[in-house]
């Protein structure tokens, strides 16, 4: 069994809650007491069917205001795979929530209304998935029951989607366009007799086909140190284990490594996982490295083996950012930049442009506000050991922290060629 994280996007009217409720039901993730509550609530509302959208019915505060506040997490388990759905609500803070959900996902579901086809919001959703480098998409055309499961309606929308996808230069995106009815359960787990003309996979089938290891393994062997383990006991008197997660590549016993930003060189003496010695550790695994020489390594140090390649250890960078807090970007302010475990001071030197996320066009501006996406140049007080986002998802991304509030003000993705 493996795991897949998916971001779901679509406005409330597209029936997203109904789809998610339906998925919970079809995968038997809803228990009897939860189902009884749904049935009862549906009856109270006078429906003659179970309104699955009530399964994701939000917090009291949200219902009082009739909005969805925040990214919600749902879990589906099938015999072969476990899914985490990060559901981003619509409304004003849409961009912020969708960027957040997509940053933690390996794939995205974009929901459309069969009666409306590709609308501005579809373009936004798609644009954000591309910004965050999601290469696996499912376009679900919902409410097919309201257009009599008409093939021509489907084909027209599918053509529009293809046009949209082709407008992005990156040709790596893999996607399915599926006609569904979340309300009636059509093409959710099985091929629906209502769409004999559709020969693609059902929604769940399409999800199950997405490979879980979707980021190409990197040649770069990188570990950022989170914490130095120092037991200070008799048995481990001089023990210093540099604990962190292998961000990419592989580390082996005896490998030569360079420590950044000091650029000191040493070799890996021993590798431990949770106190047990191992020969090697690879991408995604936590480890403690014990080094051959007594060198200065702290939280925030980056250990890299072999050639530096595309990694740069510098103070000046260009990036695409998404602004996440109410207070707009201030080029006079000093922010904190968190890059992996490393935190440095940061100044935005120049706002290059703001992206119109409905058209993808860069527009001249001198301000970046909540939910804006733009391109900036910045400088840090200490060098950061980083890459472009497209080269390395982890080394290429960071967050800005507002030191006055400690809030997460923005997320950035390095991009040297702009």
């Amino acid at each position: 069994m493996d795991a897949l994280k998916i971001a779901t996007a679509g406005s409330v009217d597209d029936g997203k809650s109904t789809l998610i409720g339906r998925l919970l039901y079809e995968t038997k993730s809803l228990k009897l007491d939860q189902l009884e509550l749904l049935t009862k609530k549906s009856q109270q509302k006078g429906y003659d069917y179970i309104d699955f959208s009530l399964a994701t019915d939000g917090l009291l505060t949200e219902r009082a205001q009739g909005i969805t506040i925040d990214v919600s997490h749902l879990y589906l388990t099938t015999p072969k795979r476990r899914y985490v759905l990060a559901d981003a609500p619509g409304h004003q803070e849409y961009t912020r929530n969708m960027v957040t959900a997509a940053s933690n996902a390996q794939a995205a579901v974009v929901l459309l209304d069969a009666r409306k086809g590709v609308v501005e919001q579809t373009k936004r959703h798609f644009y954000i998935t591309q910004l965050l480098g999601l290469n696996h998409l499912i376009f679900a055309i919902n409410k097919m029951d309201l257009v009599d499961f008409n093939q021509e309606v489907y084909q027209k929308i599918a053509d529009e989607i293809q046009l949209l996808v082709n407008s992005e230069l990156r040709s790596v995106v893999q996607y399915h366009i599926i006609p569904i009815s979340a309300l009636h359960g059509a093409n959710i787990t099985h091929h629906s007799p209502s769409t004999p003309w559709y020969d693609g996979p059902s929604f769940m089938e399409a999800l199950s086909r997405i490979p879980s290891e979707i980021y190409a393994p990197s040649e770069l062997n990188v570990l950022q140190v989170q914490w130095v383990i120092r037991p200070k006991t008799e048995a481990h008197h001089d023990y210093r284990g540099f604990a962190g997660k292998v961000q990419s590549g592989i580390f082996k016993k005896g490998m030569p490594i360079t420590i950044f930003p000091s650029k000191l060189k040493t070799t890996v003496l021993k590798i431990e996982r949770y106190g047990q010695e191992v020969d090697s550790v690879q991408q995604g695994e936590n480890a403690s490295l014990i080094l051959a020489d007594q060198v200065n390594v702290d939280r925030g140090s980056t250990l890299i083996s072999d050639a530096l390649g595309t990694v740069r250890c510098e103070q000046s960078w260009k990036a695409r950012i998404c602004w996440l807090q109410n207070t707009p970007l201030n080029t006079q302010s000093v922010y904190l930049l968190q890059h992996g475990p490393q935190v440095v001071k940061c100044k935005i030197l120049h706002i290059r442009s703001k992206t119109n996320i409905e058209t993808g066009v860069e527009e001249q501006t001198n301000s970046i506000e909540l939910n804006d996406i733009g391109i900036i140049e910045f400088m840090t007080d200490q060098p950061i050991t980083a890459t472009d986002f497209k080269t390395h998802r982890h080394l290429g991304s960071w967050i800005l922290i507002d030191p006055q509030t400690n809030n997460t003000a923005a997320v950035g993705m390095n991009q040297s060629e702009i």
Partner: protein, 297 residues
């Protein structure tokens, strides 16, 4: 260990190490339940070969199952951890909280005062907890690093977005973090992990013979803490508990599952959700949300 479970373990240990790297004075909230037992195990792995550099904290309602307390003391002893106990009885005696009365009285809500007082007294800036997003819808919206204001409150409208693996643990003086390393685990994941890692659990989790009575469709344990009406006749039957909370609000389920394989079989086919057996959540629809805002675990 299957890949999905291994990924969950790696994620949790990464989060615990972020706490070790970012917080000055963390602690681990330990209830004696299966989720916090898993959390302790993950914390031990994250710190090995060093001992846990933070204490386990138990908020004792005074209404705990004996089995839970015995288990807690054995575990603390075995791993050589420091244990801090926050006593709800102490807060009742000092008049800081008022004991509920009536047949559905519970000390569940009172725990919040004791928890916040204990956090403040010990100046903890980060509290690791075993809450999971699949438990309840207010928890489905919870962050991994969740900031609590100086009153210990949770503001659902002002949560920090969490992007990639970047966890922002910076707080103002007087605030603290609640950190949930097993956020993305489901009940079944927890059980599968316990089986995989061969972890010991309090005997309450397995089928045993016990005197219980039926209340609002739930099987409540017979104890001096629960007043029974004349209709609530005790019966002796085979049960187990799915969560181990305060004795006054934790219901049992009928079960014959005496070992972990049988328990997993039962849960895989279970028709009632885990928190469906918690009367504290059934009090009202937003019961968990309201308690979270007040600083509840």
């Amino acid at each position: 260990m299957n890949l999905a479970l291994k990924q969950l373990e790696e994620e949790a240990i990464y989060i615990i190490r972020e706490v070790l790297g970012q917080s000055r004075n963390p602690c681990l909230l330990f209830s004696g339940g299966k989720d916090s037992i898993v959390l302790v195990h993950l914390a031990i792995k994250a710190c090995a070969p060093a001992k846990l550099p933070f204490p386990l904290v138990h908020i004792d309602t005074g209404h705990n199952f004996e089995e839970t307390l015995a288990f807690r003391d054995r575990l603390v002893n075995r791993i050589g951890a420091r244990l801090v106990i926050g006593s709800v009885q102490e807060d009742i005696d000092a008049g800081r909280v008022l004991e509920e009365i009536g047949p559905s009285a519970s000390r569940n809500t009172l725990q919040t005062t004791t928890l916040l007082r204990t956090i403040e007294e010990n100046k903890w800036d980060a509290c690791l907890g075993g809450a999971r997003r699949d438990e309840e819808k207010a928890r489905a919206k919870e962050r991994i690093f969740s900031v609590r204001d100086v009153f210990g409150g949770w503001n659902e409208k002002n949560q920090r977005p969490e992007l990639f693996e970047l966890l922002n643990g910076r707080i103002q003086h007087g605030e603290h973090l609640r950190v949930f390393p097993i956020s993305n685990w489901t009940e079944l994941d927890v059980w599968n992990y316990i089986r995989e890692e061969n972890l010991e659990l309090p005997s309450l989790y397995f089928a045993h013979k016990r005197w219980v009575f039926e209340r609002k469709g739930s099987l409540m344990p017979v104890s001096t803490l629960l007043e029974r009406s004349e209709h609530e006749q005790p019966i002796e039957t085979w049960v187990r508990f799915r969560t181990v909370g305060d004795m006054s609000c934790t219901a049992a389920v009928t079960s014959t599952a005496q070992d972990i394989d049988r328990v997993i079989e039962e849960i895989s086919g279970a028709t009632i959700s885990e928190r469906g057996a918690r009367l504290d959540d059934q009090r009202s629809e937003g019961a968990m949300e309201e308690r979270k805002k007040a600083g509840y675990f």
